[in-house]
């Protein structure tokens, strides 16, 4: 079984900031907009280096989405930055009409997604954003798992044409994916091959899944771990091939189980290869204040709950 090393905890939002800096240097069409959260989104360096291609829009996210749509018309590649809640729910209709329906090349970059935002509480902890964004026709939806992957996803988005949602988080989390690996939109990654059960995870739950897989392996269960960073378009082939081998699946995400990655996968499997599935995610609830670790434990978004769900799904095979 492949062993992954935490190369030092880093926040995914810094991956976004560093990726944005890099594409800002290499692609003069990249522009960035931020709604009064430059520091939180780590957009400082881009702003410093590209004063004529950076827009501070103030606390006015609806206008930011419209500006981004308009900027794209002249051939610019706008990256918007604010928290996930204000990137999606607050401006859904602006994204729907001015960006998605209008087919604009806007990259909506969203930090502080999910429970790991922590102490600010449920007003800021959006757990519905993947669902909102994946329902929009033509929208690409990406949820990255660590610093390196967020950086490479940001860089990849500058080359991608069409509206996209890039979701990442606030806390420092293990950085374990390879710095060199190129980010391929829509292509899942098998982190560990296994034969008894498949775990498909996205975002912060990928690392937790690796921990779970290691513990399960010690107990004699062979786990295939797949990192699905692109929720839409979903790498259906990879997932179907995996469950044809394992015949059981657990999906894991920092999101409501209604509308998230797990639901996309259950639809895929019900159409192609019906398979017993268990879901890790919040269960139709809002979050609350607390530390990220406390919250992930309380809402069952950690390795120990993944292990329980694997044990449960194995009984259903």
């Amino acid at each position: 079984m492949k062993k992954y090393i935490d190369k030092g905890a880093k926040d995914t939002r810094s991956g976004f900031g560093d990726g944005l800096t890099e594409i800002g240097r290499n692609n003069q069409n990249v522009v960035a907009l931020c709604a009064d959260l430059v520091g939180s989104l780590k957009m400082d360096r881009f702003k410093e280096e590209n004063p004529t291609r950076f827009y501070q829009v103030g606390v006015a996210e609806a206008n930011m989405m419209g500006l981004a749509a308009g900027l794209s018309i002249g051939g610019k590649i706008p990256f918007t930055g604010t928290f996930a809640n204000f990137s999606t729910g607050r401006v859904y209709d602006q994204i729907r009409q001015s960006i998605a329906y209008s087919g604009k090349n806007v990259k909506i970059c969203a930090s502080h997604a999910g429970l790991t935002l922590g102490e600010d509480g449920a007003t800021h902890q959006i757990l519905e954003d993947i669902g909102l964004m994946k329902m929009l026709p033509g929208m690409t939806v990406i949820n990255t798992c660590d610093y390196n992957q967020t950086k490479s996803a940001t860089i990849a988005l500058a080359q991608h044409i069409g509206p996209a949602y890039l979701r990442f988080g606030r806390p420092k989390v293990p950085n374990f994916t390879s710095e060199e690996s190129k980010f391929l939109i829509g292509k899942g990654i098998i982190l560990n091959e296994g034969s008894d059960v498949t775990i498909v995870a996205t975002g912060h739950l990928v690392w937790e899944s690796l921990i779970a897989a290691e513990k399960l392996y010690a107990k004699g269960t062979s786990v295939e771990v797949i990192n699905i960073h692109t929720i839409k378009p979903l790498d259906e082939k990879l997932i179907i091939e995996s469950v044809k081998k394992t015949r059981a699946i657990v999906t894991a995400e920092e999101h409501n189980i209604l509308g998230g990655l797990g639901e996309s996968i259950s639809r895929t499997l019900s159409l192609n290869f019906p398979t017993p599935q268990e879901f890790i995610g919040t269960n139709d609830t809002f979050g609350e204040s607390g530390t990220p670790n406390q919250l992930m434990k309380k809402y069952g978004l950690n390795s120990s709950n993944i292990i329980s769900k694997v044990e449960k799904v194995l009984l259903r095979k």
């Binding site: 522009v31 004529t52 291609r53 827009y55 829009v57 103030g58 006015a60 609806a62 206008n63 930011m64 989405m65 419209g66 500006l67 981004a68 749509a69 308009g70 900027l71 794209s72 018309i73 002249g74 051939g75 610019k76 706008p78 209709d93 602006q94 729907r96 009409q97 001015s98 329906y101 209008s102 087919g103 604009k104």
Partner: protein
Amino acid sequence: MSDKKELLDLVLQIRRDILRMVHKVNSGHPGGSLGCTEFFVALYKEIMDHNSNFSMKGHNEDLFFLSNGHISPVFYSILARTGYFPVDELNTFRLINSRLQGHPATHEELPGVRIASGSLGQGLSVALGAALSKRINADPKTIYVLLGDGELQEGQNWEAFMFAAANKVDNIIATIDFNGKQIDGPTKQVLDLGDLKSKLISFGWKTLEINNGNNLEEIISVLNHAKKLLGKKTPIAILMKTEMGNGVDYMMHTHAWHGIAPNDEQLKDALLQNPETIGDY
């Protein structure tokens, strides 16, 4: 400069197009469309330097954005009548498989449309984004946008007004169709906009007025004046007083025809008031 008769003939013909389009499908928005007919004729025939050989990017040409998308009939008619697509296609307005959607859209790739609009309050932000894009591209052309007065009740507009002044966006002319009417009644009664001119000025916009927005000469004169004020670190707004339903007597002085199509008899009456000039589609 086109001669005056040519422009007035186009106004009459576009009014006929609007009326026939909404009548055919018994839906659509004739009131605001008729109210803005002269404005569209002035803009597309006299003011804008635009290219009917459409490209989405629109480099080195003036661009127009329609924020109050429900007045799509007048928008489609002027686009067709200035060569963006065949005039006959006006026959397909609001029909299935048409490029002429109920509200303007880019999805079906109708030439002349650069953004979907209809859900109100979004067009000014988009137009400002396009203006910023021109600024970065060192493209000296101008962005024009038309907003409804009712849609100024949407807060996003005020975010955009604030942004434009703060960022000295001075390659945009935003015209507000100030007809004082919206679906539920007079704007003053639905949600009073208050002293709109003072509000725009206090938001940092150079604000001009068109007292009769159904008078071609006045529209052209004020728009030409506005053009001279471009590039002075200040965004430009024009409050244009129009008469909803202009040119059809029974549609004027009421909000009733905001979104209702005339029946056969009413159409006949309206067309008699607006005789065919260039030729019906």
